[in-house]
């Protein structure tokens, strides 16, 4: 594909997004649904990793869309649509307490039950399923369980900061402005989050002669 065609497609995509926004602002529900289809996976993924329970993730992500639907009339297109949508997402997450309600044991049980049943349904019980596939699926399920459980060790704010940085690729400054923290606090939060995740997921062993200190930590 040539550069020109790529640029052309990108421009068309932007034009179609602007068009969809304009139509949605005029009250056209279908236009808004099309906009939602463009970003629903990203928002849902963020919500799932944030609150760790599929039904909560669906509820939370749909709340984001409902809020966006209500507020799209006020969107002035001074920033990108996704940037605007992401800020609504962050505000919704910060105002939501579902992320705190699940205990560690609950995570373990739920993930095990949900994922296992789903995975077995989809792979292991297929007539043509091979033994390796089933085993890989099982290992993946254990990994997911461990990571979801590890995320539960972070505070909701740490989780949000980590996801915005690592999954959304926002800069520390952008996160600081969006969440209402200082840049130093964002960095410290990231440092702690990575260390907690590493410890919970059992990745590597820290050398004994190295003292682990968080950025800006006193002593």
């Amino acid at each position: 594909m040539s550069i020109e065609s790529t640029l052309r497609e990108g421009k068309q995509a932007l034009t179609s997004e602007s068009e969809l926004i304009r139509r949605a602002q005029a009250g056209e529900r279908e236009a808004f649904c099309q906009l939602a289809r463009l970003y629903e996976r990203r928002i849902y993924a963020l919500a799932l990793h944030y609150c760790r329970r599929p039904e909560d993730a669906e509820d939370l992500s749909q709340e984001v869309w409902l809020k966006a639907f209500r507020a799209i009339g006020g969107f002035r297109q001074q920033s990108g649509f996704y940037t605007w949508l992401r800020q609504i997402t962050i505000n919704t997450f910060l105002n939501d307490r579902r992320a705190e309600t699940m205990t560690r044991d609950e995570v373990r049980t739920r993930v095990r039950v949900d994922s296992l049943s789903e995975m077995l349904d989809e792979t292991a019980l297929k007539p043509d399923a091979r033994h390796e596939e089933a085993e890989n699926g099982f290992h993946k399920m254990i990994l997911v369980e461990r990571v979801i459980s590890a995320l539960g060790e972070l505070t909701p704010q740490q989780r949000l900061v980590f996801l915005l940085k690592h999954r959304e690729g926002m800069t520390c400054r952008e996160i600081a402005e969006s969440v209402g923290m200082s840049i130093g606090s964002v960095k410290k939060s990231l440092f702690r989050s990575v260390h907690k995740l590493r410890a919970e997921m059992g990745v590597g062993v820290v050398a004994e002669d190295c003292v682990v200190l968080a950025a800006g930590e006193d002593g």
Binding site: Q62, H166, V194, R198, A207
Partner: protein
């Protein structure tokens, strides 16, 4: 020079690609020189990689999305139907925060909030320490911005403004009504014409604030009054008795006071009626609060007597003492002490009521004679002996080998001298005299009763031994 702490503080920047190319290379070089830092960086990178694998795996399959979109569409339709007013001004609705109603109890929510606050303070403390003024400035700016954003929302602004307006109207209304009421009363000529100036009120006739009654347990403590009957004044009355004995009344307790008429007068002898139909004990006529029952197992008698020979005293007509007519003491009647007809306190029989109760004290009624000598248990603070001179030994006593105890009774008087020394038990060869001389040289602080120095009885024992 490599510093693990500094390097590791910057690992987050390296890990999340927050550095420009130059500093990034420099930091990577710095990491490579230290095995510990390299391991840190490697494990952190590995953590993110594993996380990504798992995070992607946790996402739902493609078959999930049609159902998701269907459910979202239904919710949006419901939202539109439920919020018809949105169609009137769909572009005016601003983004607002949803209030979450939770099932958790207040305590749990409070704990959670406190934890969150603690965490926030923990996170921001280093930043504050590094640049306190900048931190404060940024905080003020941020909070101002948040507040402005909040209050500038249409609904919030409307609600706030209408609240203020409502309060203003309520307060203004109350104020206006008050003013109208005042002006109406000041212009009400019919009401004011009923009165005319008659002269100044004599200020001296206006009762002043009541004086606080003196403290005192009724009848037995500090205070004006005495007793539990009648008005607040001093109790009076008394009684006396005796059995025309040649001996003084023997030591003992007083009989309890009762308001009923006396049936049996106190005596050292027990009543001789065998198998009585109604068992009665000896009593005095008087206020039981002033003449309380003495629960000790003692015969009736004079508490101040030194005589141990049982006797009802030289008085007459029953009772005990030098008086007459069934009481105890020198008076006349069935009461106690000097006075007449009953009760206690001197003079004719009279009953009274004391002031409010107080913690200490033994009696405004009868009045305390502070000049008499008090027993050690009658004073509020015992005399404190500051010097006890040694009596020494006499040559004769030493020669004769006299040892033992000289016991003296004396008064440590209110003026600081030792008086009324009497010998209870003496020793020969001049030792008793030595003991008396030594007792006279005792220095002491007088006893106190009701904060007054008083004279106090004391027993002194001098042990004479030869070592």
């Amino acid at each position: 020079m490599h510093d693990c702490d500094v390097t590791q503080e910057m690992l987050v920047d390296l890990l999340f690609d927050e550095l420009d190319e130059g500093p990034r290379r420099s930091l990577l070089d710095d990491v490579r020189v230290c095995a510990g830092c390299t391991e840190q960086y490697r494990t952190m990178t590995e953590t993110l990689r594993v996380f990504d694998n798992a995070a992607d795996a946790a996402l739902p399959a493609e078959s999930f999305w049609p159902g998701y979109e269907e459910r979202l569409s239904v919710r949006m339709a419901a939202e539109i139907q439920l919020s018809l007013w949105q169609h009137i001004a769909p572009t005016e609705r601003a983004n607002f925060n949803v209030t979450i109603l939770e099932d958790d109890g207040v305590a749990r929510r409070l704990i959670r909030e406190l934890r969150a606050a603690a965490l926030a303070s923990q996170l921001t403390w280093p930043e504050f320490k590094r640049d306190p003024f900048g931190f404060a400035g940024r905080s003020v700016t941020a909070y101002t911005e948040v507040a402005w954003r909040f209050f500038s929302e249409r609904n919030v602004a409307l609600a706030t403004a209408s609240s203020f307006a409502l309060i203003f109207f309520i307060v203004g209304g109350v104020f206006a009504l008050e003013m109208m009421g005042r002006s109406a009363s000041s212009t009400d000529g019919a009401a004011s014409s009923d009165y005319k100036f008659a002269g100044w009120v004599n200020n001296s006739n206006i009762p002043r604030e009541q004086e606080k009654p003196e403290e005192g347990t009724p009848g037995l403590s500090k205070g004006k009054g005495g007793g539990s009957q009648g008005e607040q004044k001093r109790a009076s009355g008394g009684g006396g008795g005796g059995n025309q004995s040649l001996l003084p009344t023997s030591i003992g307790k007083h009989a309890p006071g009762r308001m009923e008429e006396q049936i049996i007068a106190p005596s050292v002898r027990q009543p001789t009626v065998e198998n009585p139909k109604l068992e009665m004990s000896a009593s005095l006529k008087g206020d039981p609060l002033l003449i309380p029952e003495d629960m000790r197992h003692l015969p009736f008698g004079n508490p101040d007597s030194l005589s141990t020979t049982p006797s009802d005293g030289p008085g007459s007509n029953g009772g005990q003492g030098s008086g007459s007519n069934g009481g105890q003491g020198s008076g006349d009647g069935k009461g106690y002490g000097p006075g007449r007809n009953g009760n206690i306190g001197g003079g004719d029989e009279g009953y009274s009521k004391g002031g409010p109760s107080g913690p200490n004290g033994r009696g405004a009624a009868p009045p305390v004679d502070y000049k008499r000598n008090f027993r050690i248990d009658e004073v509020s603070r015992r005399a404190i002996i500051t010097q006890k001179p040694d009596p020494g030994f006499t040559e004769d006593a030493r020669k004769n080998g006299v040892t033992g105890v000289v016991r003296l009774k004396a008064v440590l008087s209110a003026n600081g001298t030792v008086t009324q020394i009497s010998v209870i038990k003496g020793l020969p060869d001049g030792l008793t005299e030595r003991a008396i001389q030594a007792a006279q040289r005792i220095r002491f602080q007088p006893a106190l009763k009701d904060d007054r120095p008083v004279s106090q009885w004391i027993t002194l024992e001098y042990n004479f031994n030869i070592y």
